[in-house]
Subunit: 70 residues, 2 copies
DNA sequence: TCCTTAAGTAAAGCGTGCTTGACTTGTAAA
DNA sequence: TTTACAAGTCAAGCACGCTTTACTTAAGGA
């Protein structure tokens, strides 16, 4: 799923490690989500929204990768 | 994670099967999420919000089950 | 040059999200 | 009573979220 994680993280000048620590997950997890390898769990999505001070639907775009063929 | 699925589904007079079909998942999945056995994936959370015409954070409460000890 | 930090890849392993199928219980209609 | 539907439990199995470890590449400072 497409997201604005990388953008928002860099706006704040945070490293992936810093964000991972703030979220309580590994750096690998941050990388994988940023690069769209997989979607975060719902609890993690809530923590991301909290960390970035926005709503989940502002952070993630469900149509971003979801094969809308027409 | 605590949620208002059951409440909102019954307001609309939908069976679990009807909701499951609308979401494109099995009835088991609806039951398990309603009863808090596990959290939906992020894509499924977005579909739930769409089906119920609200936002994810209106449907789910991240503090609902999250062991805040103090 | 060497060292450090940030970002990335890859792979093995564990817990959980979701599926299918079978079974139970309560309610209501035939 | 029998049939049918809604809601629930349980269990086996597959796919994905997340962890850990190890390695690579590029940029900056000593």
């Amino acid at each position: 799923m497409k997201n604005s994680l990388n953008e928002r993280r860099q706006e704040r000048g945070w490293s992936q490690q810093h964000l991972a620590d703030a979220l309580g997950v590994s750096r690998q997890t941050v990388i994988s989500i940023e690069r769209g390898r997989f979607d975060p769990s719902l609890p993690l999505a809530f923590r991301l929204a909290e960390v970035f001070g926005c709503r989940i639907d502002e952070l993630f775009d469900p149509r971003g990768d979801g094969a809308q063929s027409s």
